[in-house]
Amino acid sequence: MKVLVAVKRVVDYNVKVRAKADGSDVDLNNVKMAINPFCEIAVEEAIRLREAGVATEVIAVSIGDKSCQEQIRTSLALGADRGIQVETEGAVEPLVVAKLLKGVIEKEQPQLVILGKQSIDGDNNQTGQMLGALTNMPQGTFASELVVDGDKITVTREVDGGLQTLSLNLPAIVTTDLRLNEPRYASLPNIMKAKKKQMDVYSPADLGVEPKAHLTTLKVEPPPERKAGIMVASVEELVDKLKNEAKVIS
């Protein structure tokens, strides 16, 4: 079984991002970039499937300019077999990403596509679902457990108030939640080996897609500063304030 994993280059989760002074975007100058944590979980899940003998090949795909090859290399160092970069310029919207991934799926014919449920920069949570609609493949989103059984998979989803278990026919799309697994760190010899693994580069035109912008960013600004808190003298005062000032209890 061939598994396709999508990985995105995002600002490292440890970085405190700042808005640019002109409010046009987030300032990415000299900011540490990393693989999106949910995508890393997707890579880990695919590698575990291969280690378990279920998957035969794991392909990591990323969409972006040349710098996203670093995240593909990281996926290769973690254990993916080969990489694909779809070379684009500037920001790409979820719908375009989904269309490009559909193009890759048509070329590669994977049985299973694993994506992060969302990226920690845009927080859109749209690509996996859009890809499901475009490819007409069943989707299991927010997966906290994934079991492959012949030509079906069972996906346990984290939903409000509990867990939902779905059975999907392959080929299928799965998006990962935080608790699906704990990703490994790449071993140093595997980082070396990643250099020798195959990486193909496609243009959107190769995949029959013309990237279009449907959204315009009007303004990017930091959240308002929180006002300083106050100390209350007693529980009674706290309850009174919660009731009458904050009005969060009645």
Partner: protein, 367 residues
Amino acid sequence: MSDLLFDLTLTDEQRMTRESVQRFAAAEMAAPARAADEAAVTPAGFYEKILELGLSLMPIPEALGGAGMQRSPVSNVLTAEDLAQGDLSMALGSLSPLAFVNTLIDQGNDSQREQYLPRFCGEAVTRATIAFMEPRATFEPTELHTSARRDGDGFVLNGNKTMVPLGLDAQLLLVIAELENEGPAAFIVDGEYAGLEREPEQHMGLRTIEMASLSLTDVNLPAEALLGDGRFDLQRFLDLSRLGICALAVGTCQAVLDYVTEYCNERVAFGEPITHRQSVAFMIADIAIELDAMRLMTWRAAATAERGGDFHEQAYLAKIFCAEHAMEIGTNGVQLLGGHGFCREHPVEMWYRNLRAIGILEGAVSV
């Protein structure tokens, strides 16, 4: 290597390696460091995890089962720095087998490489170390009292060594000694040889790495125990070791800087964070400046070594600078936290104790 005079851009592999090592250091070293220090033992399974990370097999040729990375003092310095940011003590423990491997690659002969290096590429942990320092007040690295004399085809080794990392149970030891009438030499000593006694040592810092003193009494060694062709380049070994020690200092001082910066920005006194006080802000700024200088001196010497240049003076200057400032940064780390710094609840007192070793170690890690 870039043609530019001054380019500190890391290669893709170096960046990825740092990322992996930093994550490893945070999860597997920094997190359990305090408990390990209190108990004076390495956390269970730690060396198995280091084996999985693949630290020691990196420079070993592919034909012998390693990863065949070109020997790179710069990459080694970066790794030592990142490990020490997790914990200096465990970093020294993880680097000791690598130092053995590197020295064998650097100065050993083919048959020694073929015999010993595959042992670092298997599934089992091989504990190896270098025994260099000697227990006396006027220890001078270039005048070793541990002596070897030729005896038939083999050698007889006598003397005492101290502060040997992993010394308590290392299976392979590289013992540096003075070969009678010939000069400094290194010997590969199997931990099982008769005449080798080990004694655990207790130190104020570096408590987790089972440091030991060794006494060698008429240890009989076969001819092939002599490293390389017999001429051991002690100066090169010392210079590479100094780079390792500098990098360890840089990593731990980075941990101190990160910790005190966050603490002092959050700690409120007289209604505002204490970083608003110049006496605190200047102290933190000084740490940052000194740390940057320590790092740059270390990297420069490593880069010169990597290009095959004469890095003796650069390594020596870096070592003296790093030793002085590492100890100062250690004590200032404690000072900046005030009473909390003295308290074992915070890691700064442990870093202070560990950093104190930087001025004392000589030749324990060879990058």
